[in-house]
C-alpha cells in the first residue's frame, strides 16, 4: 500500500462517494439504529481498543512525548464509556436531513423551498485524541455523510481499532462499510493525496496545530473549513461587577488553559484598574497564573512581568495571562481587532450601550456579555458534540455540529411554469 498511496486514497475516495449516495437517501431510524449499535460496539470492544492504545502509549513514551500529549492519547474504560455516551447523545438529536426551510410562494405560483441535505463526503485530518474518531464518525453519519478519517500517527493503533469497531457496527446495521473509512497508514503522502480528492471529498476539516491547518488551507484543492487558534480576550468595562468579573476571568483562564476557548489577554478599563487589579492578580497568583502586564498594570501591581508586543499576539495555551489597561471600550475593541483571532471574546459590563456595542462591533465566532469564553463548545451550545470550531467565515462559524455538516438544495413545485 505504501508504494501507491495515491491509488489507495483514490479508492477510498470512490468508495466514500458511492456510500454517500446510499446514505443521502437513508431514513432517520436506520441511521439511529446504526448509531446505537456503534455506541454499544465500542463498549463490547473495549479490551481490544485498550490493548491497541497501550501500544500507542508505549511508543509515545519511548519517543519521549510530553506528559499532556500522552494524557490526550491515553484511553481508559471510562474514556471509552464517554465516547459511547457521546454517540448516544448524537443519536438523540433531531435529524436535519430533508427538513425544508422557508417554502416561499412566488408571484408566478412557484413554491420555492430549501431542503437540508448531507454535504456528501467529509474528510477529517486530526491529531492525537482518539475520541475524535468516534465523535466525528457519529456526527457525520447523523447528518447522512460518509467520512474519511486521518488521525495522527501517534494514535494510529487506537484509531484503527476504534474505527474497526465502529465499522463492524455499521455493517451489522446494514449500512455501507465505506460509510466510515480510516486511512490506515502513517505515511504523510496520504494527506497530500487526500487534499487532491476533489470530486470525491466535499469538504476537508483539519483539526490540530497551526502548521497542520496552514498546510491544508494552502495546498488543498478540496474546499476546507478552517478550525483555528483562539487568542481570546476578556474586557472588564468600567461598570463591571467586580465579583462576576473575577469569577469569569479565573474560569476563562484556569479551568482548562490548554484549549482554544481559554482566555489569553485581559483588558481593563483605566477607571477601575487600580481598584480591580490588585485583588484579581492576587487570586490569579494563587492559581499559579503567570501575569504579564502593560506598564500601567505594573504600576498598580508590582509583582507582574512586563508584557511585550509578542505576549499580546500569543495564544499561550498555558497558565500565562497578558494584561492591558485601556482608556475606553473603543480602545478595547481596537485591541481585539488588532490582536484577536476571531474566536471568542467577552465583555464584563453593566452598561447597556456598551454591551450592545461590543456584541455588534467585535467580530468573532462567539461574542459574550457577562459569561466565560469557555462556553464556545459544541456540547455547551447544545450540539451534542462538535466536529471542530470554525474560525473562518464561509459555511460555518463557531462550534460545528450536525447542522453544519449539511448543505441545502432548492426544491421547486410548479404547475407548468415557463419563463
Amino acid at each position: 500500500m505504501e508504494n501507491n498511496i495515491e491509488d489507495y486514497m483514490l479508492e477510498i475516495g470512490k468508495n466514500a462517494r458511492e456510500a454517500s449516495r446510499v446514505l443521502a437517501n437513508i431514513g432517520t431510524e436506520i441511521k439511529n439504529k446504526a448509531l446505537r449499535n456503534m455506541a454499544t460496539r465500542l463498549i463490547l470492544d473495549s479490551d481490544k481498543i485498550l490493548a491497541a492504545n497501550q501500544i500507542d502509549v508505549a511508543a509515545a513514551m519511548e519517543k519521549g512525548i510530553s506528559e499532556p500529549l500522552i494524557d490526550r492519547l491515553i484511553l481508559t474504560k471510562k474514556r471509552i464509556l464517554d465516547m459511547s455516551n457521546a454517540i448516544e447523545v448524537i443519536t438523540n438529536l433531531k435529524d436535519p436531513i430533508n427538513d425544508v426551510i422557508e417554502m416561499l410562494h412566488m408571484p408566478n405560483n412557484l413554491q420555492i423551498g430549501r431542503m437540508k441535505i448531507p454535504l456528501g463526503v467529509i474528510g477529517i485530518i486530526y491529531e492525537s485524541r482518539p475520541n475524535v474518531t468516534a465523535d466525528a464518525s457519529a456526527l457525520c453519519l447523523k447528518a447522512g455523510n460518509a467520512v474519511i478519517l486521518r488521525g495522527g500517527s501517534d494514535a494510529i493503533n487506537s484509531n484503527i481499532e476504534i474505527s474497526n469497531s465502529l465499522k463492524a457496527a455499521l455493517v451489522e446495521s446494514g449500512l455501507p462499510e465505506a460509510t466510515l473509512q480510516y486511512v490506515e497508514t502513517a505515511n504523510r503522502e496520504a494527506v497530500d493525496a487526500m487534499m487532491k480528492l476533489k470530486g470525491y471529498i466535499d469538504v476537508l476539516i483539519p483539526r490540530g496545530g497551526a502548521s497542520l491547518i496552514n498546510n491544508i488551507v494552502k495546498n488543498s484543492s478540496v474546499p476546507v473549513i478552517e478550525t483555528g487558534v483562539g487568542n481570546c480576550h476578556v474586557y472588564v468595562d468600567e461598570s463591571a461587577d467586580f465579583n462576576m468579573a473575577e469569577n469569569i476571568i479565573i474560569n476563562a483562564k484556569t479551568q482548562r488553559p490548554g484549549v482554544c476557548n481559554a482566555m489569553e489577554t485581559l483588558l481593563v478599563h483605566e477607571n477601575i484598574a487600580s481598584t480591580f487589579l490588585p485583588s484579581l492578580c492576587q487570586k490569579l497568583h494563587s492559581f499559579s497564573v503567570e501575569l504579564r502586564g502593560c506598564e500601567i498594570t505594573k504600576c498598580i501591581v508590582s509583582d507582574v512581568n512586563l508584557a511585550t508586543e509578542e505576549d499580546f499576539e500569543t495564544e499561550f495555551l498555558d497558565l500565562i495571562l497578558a494584561i492591558k489597561v485601556v482608556p475606553s471600550i473603543d480602545a478595547a475593541i481596537d485591541h481585539i481587532y488588532k490582536y484577536g483571532t476571531n474566536h471568542s471574546e467577552a465583555i464584563i459590563t453593566n452598561n447597556y450601550i456598551n454591551s450592545q456595542r461590543f456584541l455588534k462591533e467585535v467580530d468573532a465566532a462567539a461574542v459574550y456579555v457577562n459569561a466565560s469564553t469557555r462556553f464556545t463548545d459544541g456540547s455547551e451550545f447544545g450540539f451534542g458534540g462538535e466536529i471542530g470550531i470554525s474560525t473562518q467565515k464561509l459555511h460555518a462559524r463557531g462550534p460545528m455540529g450536525v447542522n453544519e455538516l449539511t448543505t441545502t438544495k432548492y426544491i421547486i413545485y410548479g404547475e407548468g411554469q415557463v419563463r
Copy 2:
C-alpha cells in the same frame, strides 16, 4: 504599476480590509442612500460610460471576437438604465445585517443567538458582461461588504468607467472609497496575486468559463465559492401532461440557450416515447434545435442524429439537445447522477410518489417538479439579482443574493456564567 502587481494588489487588499471594518458597522439607511446615489450616478454618467464602452467594442471587433460575445459586451442607454434599476431593486431588499436568528435559551440561562454579519471583503473575477460590475457592487454593499472587482480585459474601459461612476457616488454618500475597488490592469498576474490575498479577501467568486473557474479553485489560498457549468436535464415521466412537458422543454431549451440553466439533455420514459417524441421533435425542429438522440429515439423519430456518449456529457450552450429514452424513473435519476453537474434538474410528472422521489434523490442546486430549469436565477428567486450561481455545497448553493454574502457570529447574553 505593471512592474509591481503584487504590491498593487496588496494595497488594494489592505484598503478593502479597512473599508470593510467601517461598512460592517454602518446603518441600513446610509447604505441605502449610497445605493440610490449609485443608481442615479450611472444614469448621469451614461455618456462617459458609453464612450468607454465604444472603445472596448471597437477593440473586440478588431480582434474578431464572436457576435454573441460582442453582444454581451455592448452597452446602450437602455442597458445602463437596466443596471440602474437593478440597483434600485437591491436597495429595496431587506438588509439582513444584525438580524439575529434563533436566540435560544440554554439550561444554564445563557441566551445564545446567531447574528448575521457581512462576510467582509469579497473578490469577484469575471468575464465580459460589464453589468456585473454594477450588480456585484450593489449586492456586496447591501450586505455590508467591501468588494474587489476584476473583470475581463475585453471590457476593461467600460468596467473602469462604471466603477469610477459608482465610486463617486459612494464617496459622495460618505462611504469609504475602498468600498469598491476595480483592478485596473489587464495583466493576468493580478489574478494570481488576488488568489494569494488570504487575510485580506474573505471569499473569491469566479464567474466565467470552466478554465477560469478551475484555475482559481485549484490555486487560490483564499476560500472560493465555485460557480459552474450546468448540464441540466428534463425528465418526462410516464404520467406527464404532454402539453405541459412540451412547453417546458421548448422554454428550457430555446428561450436562452447560451446560459447555464438552459436544458441540455431530455430524458423520456419508454412507455410514452413513441407517442410523445414525434410531435415534440417536430416543434423543436421548428425552433431550429439540432437533435441528437439515443438509438431508441432514432427508431421513433428518423430525422435526429445519433447521440454519442460525449453528447450526454456536454453543456452545449447552444440550440442542440441530446435525447435519451429511459426504462424508469430510477434510470433517469441514475443518468442525472452520472452526467449531471448539480445545477438544475426537472421532472415533468403527474405521479405524486415520483415527484417526491425526484426532489429527494436528485442532488442539484435546484430540483424542479413541473417547471422550467430556466428559473434558477437570483431575480426569479426574489433576490433582486445574483452574484453568481453556486454549484458547490459549501456556504451557498444555487443563486447567491444578499443573504449569501453574509456570515454569522454567535452572540451570547450571560449573567456571570462560568464552566
